[in-house]
Amino acid sequence: MAHDTEVLVLGGGSTGCGIARDLAMRGVEVTLVERGNLTDGTTGRMHGLLHSGGRYAVSDQASAVECIEENEILREIAGHCVETTGGLFVQRPEDPDDYFREKLEGCRDCDIPARVLSGREAREVEPYLAEDVKRAIQVPDGAVDPFRLCVANAVDAENYGARIETHAEVIDLLREGDDIYGVEVRHESGPGKRTHGTPGTTEEITAEYVVNATGAWAGQIGAMADLDVEVRPSKGVMTIMNVRQVDTVINRCRPKGDADIVVPHETTAILGTTDEEVTDPDDYPEEQWEVDMMIDTLSELVPILEEARTIRSFWGVRPLYEPPGRGTTDPTDITRDFFLLDHEERDGVSGMSSIVGGKFTTYRAMAEEISNHVCEQLGVRASCATAEEALPGSENLAVLEEGMDDFGLRSPIARRSKQRLGSRSQEVLETDEPNPVVCQCEGVTRAEVQDAIDQSGSDLNAVRIRTRASMGNCQGGFCCQNMANELHPEYDEATTREALDELFQERWKGERHALWGEQLSQAMLNYALHATTMNRDNDPASHTEAVDYGAFDSGDSSVRPSSRRRSGGD
């Protein structure tokens, strides 16, 4: 039987995109389907820590070793997505000495470069640390942009011939007897790029092999073919601050606990996190106490956080997996390792494997292992090349710095654009057209927004994750509208309006968790701008009832200068 594609990957997170790239580079024909945008799952809702392995150096040394290896590889192949911030494990006076020692030994066991700093030295590195911190271990933690990295994998997979379909939700697995041979998807606006307002279609996609990389949703996919995949989704909160209070990753050096890490990310710092099992990865409570706990607990390490401005909070769900029979009750005790479930071996159903568990930092290694497995099934001999081949944007980064002028941009903006685009800067920014700034907070220019629209259609959230536009202090209040303007005339007015409403509502969703102090004032300003000035809350264009224009003031005819009425050419 002829199949539409050799391998069908379900899920457009880091795992799915990593697998798609790996297989495509090996010459395998791949199709990836994702129900929302790339990174719409856990990948777009994680903390942004490029683990050094330090966090697992005591509890889970196998993971720690894998982390440090992958950490080093990602710095090479994805330099434009990584910031080498370094990290500290900071001990407060009340934190146990034993644990500090174990951590240090653990790092050394796992070949994680680690150095002890005195309290004073630690405060020289990070002046906002509390005055009474005792000492710290310095490790090569980093910050990673999950959006950029995930999209770069997808783009490269496409460069190698893969088909990437976003806004294509798997609604059924095609199973005949004991064989899975494809899926049925619902395209929200037809196949290809998303365009708001275009009617949906469904499509059956058949494949020789299906890879279920839907993370916390893997159980739902499994259930479509009556397979049990025991993922245990566990939620965690992250709270974004308006500035970078720290430039280094700050971990609390004590046995597991909530609210024990701050990661600098672009212009912000992100506080995290919690670990609470939930039943439905799409519907779980997002609670005030979680946000309060981030601020209160982390203020013990970095006191100015208490008074600082929070711009939003968001939650993610870990796709934790526990092999049957272990019965761990506390989700923090469930291993962070990943599992490859071959349903033929496990359940006697051929044609599909599921991947569950794991971490973002190790996505490439996971993808490699899974791709090896898939290739074995398909009889493909090519080997993995993802550890050596740089991702688009990270090619020749060293050359880039020297060879580029600033494309007429103010230097801070040019610098930020270059950071985001890496080696693609030239290609994207070189334009004869004016290239004004669309998003002031993040310094995103029109050329970048247009480049993102080329990639992703009328979906402004997809533009956002590619560019960071609308992710700064104003949370889109001042720039959502400008981003939407960029869709026109390629997309018509109704499409543009719908895309704007969707982005604005999405921005509000996270802002709600930061509604006090400056950010509440900002929220009122945003609301006033969009409702008072633009009347977007009562836009006659969005209402069915027609406005009787004739009943309203049409101007004072007694003062209208009649001389300016056109008298038929001049």
Binding site: V437, V438, F478, A494, L515, L520, M524, A531, T532, G550
Partner: protein
């Protein structure tokens, strides 16, 4: 010697300025102390009275007809419909030729930069030719370097909103703008100062060059709309010259921050304050107060570069704005009025301060102090906090100006009443 006046107004937005003018008109000696720029820098410069009812019905044709339907706690109900009318007339006098709309009680529907129309009661003359109920065909002009306003998109949006005329948009290059990230004021100043700019036909004045850029795109439309950047100080002249050269009426489309029409209104109000002899102190905040034995305010403290200077008056008007102007502030567990700690009702749980729909009925938008009919802020037991303190404008709670489209109107009406009463009482 302590600084002493009859009336001290705190806050210099529309509400504070109106209060100061109204108090001065009663013959009182008035001082106005204001800290930062007012909300007018952000606001469109339109004077809304009421565009939608409390239930969201609208756009309302005649706002004065519907004020009585508002809830009892609404600031308009506190001052009464007649006072709202008087306040508007007061404004019309102050604004003179700079504003239009006083020839009718009906609201105007004004196209703004998002493309759709909004109801308002008074509008700057610069927008007058752009009203959506005026059926003349319209050309909208946007600029490549200005990302806030997309003229072709706004034109289709107007069509989708059912506006009774044909609208077309073009995007052009603004002559003389060399930087892609030039500030809005740069555009205005080019036109204000008639700066010479390079064009294909040689050096021309900025106004002439702009008209020449637009003219070939006119296809018989009798009015042309530009984003609100047509001059600052000499806006009227700029518009007149462009209109002349184009042979069409010229109007401005109100925009978001920084808003030139808002700043022009602020300038106008400050000129009026000067003419009325109000002493204006800006750039310094009021940070505290002391009371007499009988609990009235004796003086407030103004922070001048770290030194707290007492300012004394018989009557005080609090016009410090809402969440945007910083007259209402909040922390994780409370919302409050920072100078006098006047009672600001709010839910204890901050997750009850908002609803999930961004344009839903937002409790936070109604935060503010609650006044009696004299506009004196009330404490939690509904007693006046101080006998000689009144409040006006966005510092008042109980209304959502964004949903109702009532922002400047409430500030005007309550500023007028609070200032007038304070002036009368102080100079009695």
């Amino acid at each position: 010697m302590a600084i002493s006046d009859d009336v001290l107004v705190i806050g210099g937005g529309i509400a504070g300025a109106t209060a100061a003018l109204a108090a001065a008109e009663e013959g009182a000696d008035v001082r106005l102390v204001t800290h930062k720029q007012s909300t007018l820098r952000n606001a469109s410069g339109l004077i809304d009275v009421l565009g939608y009812t409390h239930e969201g019905e609208g756009p309302i044709v005649d706002p004065f007809d519907r004020l009585e339907e508002l809830p009892e706690s609404h600031p308009y109900r506190r001052v009464g419909t007649e006072a709202v009318r008087e306040a508007l007339s007061f404004f019309d006098e102050v604004a003179g030729d700079a504003y239009a709309g006083d020839h009718t009680d009906a609201n105007a529907l004004v196209p703004t930069h998002g493309g759709t129309v909004k109801p308002t009661a008074r509008y700057p003359v610069s927008t007058a030719a752009g009203l959506a109920s005026d059926p003349r065909d319209t050309l909208l002009v946007g600029f490549e370097t200005l990302t806030d306003f997309d003229a072709p998109l706004a034109a289709s949006h107007l069509e989708a909103a059912g506006a009774p005329f044909a609208a077309r948009g073009v995007t052009l290059r603004f002559p003389g703008i060399v930087r892609d990230d030039a500030k809005l004021t740069r555009y205005a100043h080019l036109l204000d100062r008639e700066e010479p700019v390079e064009t294909a036909a040689g050096e021309r004045s900025a106004r002439e060059a702009l008209a020449a850029t637009v003219k070939p795109h006119l296809e018989g439309e009798s009015r042309v709309g530009f984003p609100a950047l047509l001059g600052d100080e000499f806006a009227d002249e700029v518009r007149a010259e462009l209109a002349d050269r184009l042979g069409a009426d010229v109007f401005e489309v109100p925009m978001g921050p920084p808003s030139l029409p808002g700043m022009r209104l602020e300038d106008l109000l400050y000129e009026a304050l000067e003419d009325a002899g109000v002493r204006v102190v800006s750039g310094v905040p009021v940070v505290g107060y002391e009371t007499d034995d009988d609990g009235t305010i004796d003086h407030v403290l103004v922070d001048r570069h770290g030194q707290e200077i007492p300012h004394e008056a018989g009557q005080y008007v609090l016009a410090t704005g809402g969440l945007v102007g910083k007259g209402v502030r909040s922390e994780r567990d409370r919302a409050f009025e920072p100078i006098f700690d006047c009672h600001v009702p709010h839910a204890d749980d901050r997750y009850d301060w908002f609803v999930d729909d961004v344009f839903g009925e937002q409790p936070y938008a109604r935060f503010g102090v609650v006044p009696d009919r004299e506009l004196r802020p009330l404490d939690a037991d509904e007693e006046p906090e101080f006998s000689n303190l009144r409040a006006a404008g966005a510092v008042l709670g109980g209304y959502d100006y964004a949903a109702e489209k009532s922002g400047a109107g409430v500030s005007l009406a309550t500023g007028y009443v609070a200032g007038g009463r304070a002036g009368a009482e102080a100079s009695r």
